[in-house]
Symmetry: C2
Subunit: 336 residues, 2 copies
DNA sequence: CTGAAAGCGCTAACAT
DNA sequence: ATGTTAGCGCTTTCAG
């Protein structure tokens, strides 16, 4: 634990020469550099980040804000972002909002203290208040969803088309011959919930099937929530042969309920969901799911953010990624 | 974006009065405080953390180092730690070593730059080099495992007894009448691998059963690794009626293989594993597993670390937590 | 090529 | 109660 002053004293050079030698910036003779670097190593020198941060106005840290740490959806996003951040010498500060708007707002507020150089939002649900707070924050932000409300003009984002994701899931079930398809969605109070339902409806109608609100239930994106919602649907006594679940966790819940009721998957019920998390391979049968490109979402978001932080870009950039259907064993032809 | 100097100028007070008014420390008249606080709000003042850090020698951040971000084992640990850190005004910096010792070492090295006030290790595999690096770091550290090698004298830790965890899992299977039990463990090159095997052996021998190395396979704690390892075991052609898996992911892999081979769970094969992650409820049948108290591990670790950081304690503290068996549907009486 | 000096924004001891 | 001053450790401009 030594400072440039200690090294200066030790080597007889001035602090500024030591700084130049160590940073590699500015003039410094070979000889001086060598002597100083050796002393630095010997004295276990390491620059104190707070001092650099105060002087340079950057912290080399980025905040990653997610709503739910137990949802594996976010894992590869974190990992994707982490990879590129790390390769640029940045660290990630995790902020977990637990779906609370006020906590999320709190994270945006502390940005003013400049504890990080930028922020990535893993969440989906933006609203004008948050967006305007984000925009008035002193550091750049990137969203991992498409938000087109007011104020979004200059906000970078990476997103995958939610409507399309549900669409291809439903379309595949229809292709397999299913007609009575349950939609296990999210609350329509959130944008994603509405978008996804729209995708489902469109897939049905494009294929000449009626969209029936009675075949729709909403859950909270947890396994338990999926179970509860699906049980609620079963009470209606409507016939069905397939389910589109809006995320893997709810699909697991749905599959649990099916098993309890003696329904076989995919024999009696076909299930396709969104997210394609690692756990799709852990269920029996393995879950067919739409890959929402989480890893790429994370890495691209980090990329965009760093471009802003490092001043390499000053205009808005939005990146759209394509969802990819991954079929496994939880869906089969209807009527088999 | 204003500083105490801006506010001083605006209000006519000196910077130090402003600082006192805003921090609430030191003398300051009611009137001055009011004026200053209003000005601060109006001017959107927020203290720059780098400046505080430079002066105060703390960053209000803690590094949490985990080896594998895709393993749900760590979720609740992260969450447990996060809860207490947050309640004390600290942020968590995530460090993901991807099981690489050199990366882990890298994280310990940057501690010298004082980017955080302390570090929690989620990993299991400690070795002398790491431990001595940790001990010479300028900030306190907490391990979430029991390490009794040299240098551990003054290192805080929270841990659950690995041997006991495996022991109670195996003992329950034995109680259910199983005698030919497969042990799906981790590599004996890591401490945990050895400990867990010891626990299994002890359970067998305490119940008058022989420990047979042929009934043991090792995997890498991933689902795919569990599958591969278990397939390897099946090739041996040894009869068995139950499996103790060293974590949930490997148990899922094992269950997948069983299904492929037409073995029914728990009819033909009973499975109990360690970790009790949320996903135990997602598999069919639901997985019986030993809760390794991850949430408590995380929150206690954070607690211990903060005690050190805030100078409230200067002696070693080690906390032992008890593993708890959670029976679900993947294990049943033998011979049914 | 090297050194002196100022300043990043905040804190705290000390003086008034 | 308030103001002055020095300093945390580093960067950078400007003299030399």
């Amino acid at each position: 634990m030594s400072t440039i002053y200690d090294i200066a004293e030790e080597t007889g050079f001035s602090p500024s020469t030591v700084a130049r030698a160590l940073s590699g910036k500015g003039y410094c003779s070979e000889k001086a550099r060598e002597i100083i670097q050796q002393a630095a190593k010997r004295m276990d020198y390491a620059p104190v980040q707070a001092a650099k941060a105060l002087k340079n106005k950057y912290t080399k840290k980025v905040m990653f804000c997610i709503p739910d740490i137990y949802n594996p959806y976010y894992f590869s996003m974190i990992e994707g972002a982490n990879r590129v951040l790390e390769s640029h010498g940045y660290y990630m500060v995790l902020a977990h909002s637990e779906h609370s708007k006020s906590r999320e707002m709190g994270f945006v507020k502390v940005l003013r203290e400049r504890i990080v150089d930028g922020i990535i939002f893993g969440s989906f649900d933006f609203y004008p208040g948050l967006v305007s707070a984000v925009k008035s924050a002193p550091v750049p932000a990137v969203l991992t969803a498409l938000y087109e409300g007011a104020g979004a003009e200059n906000l970078d984002c990476v997103y995958v088309d939610q409507i399309k994701a549900v669409y291809i899931a439903a379309a595949e079930l229809i292709r397999l011959g299913h007609r009575d398809i349950v939609f296990l969605g999210g609350t329509p109070r959130e944008l994603t919930g509405r978008e996804r339902q729209a995708g489902f409806r469109q897939a049905m109608e494009d294929n000449g099937l009626a969209f029936d609100p009675e075949m729709t239930v909403v859950g909270d994106f947890t396994r338990a929530g999926g179970e509860e919602a699906f049980r609620g649907f079963l009470k209606r006594g409507r016939p069905f042969t397939a389910v589109v679940a809006c995320n893997d966790l709810m699909a697991f819940g749905c599959m649990n309920v099916c098993r309890d009721m003696g329904l076989r998957i995919p024999g009696d019920v076909s299930v396709v969901s969104l997210d394609n998390t690692d756990f799709c391979c852990c269920s029996v049968p393995m879950l067919s799911s739409v890959d929402m490109m989480q890893f790429q979402l994370g890495s691209n978001a980090a990329q965009l953010l760093l471009e802003r932080i490092e001043g390499k870009r000053d205009y808005k950039k939005a990146i759209a990624l394509e969802p990819v259907l991954v079929m496994r064993d939880s869906a089969a032809k209807a009527g088999k």
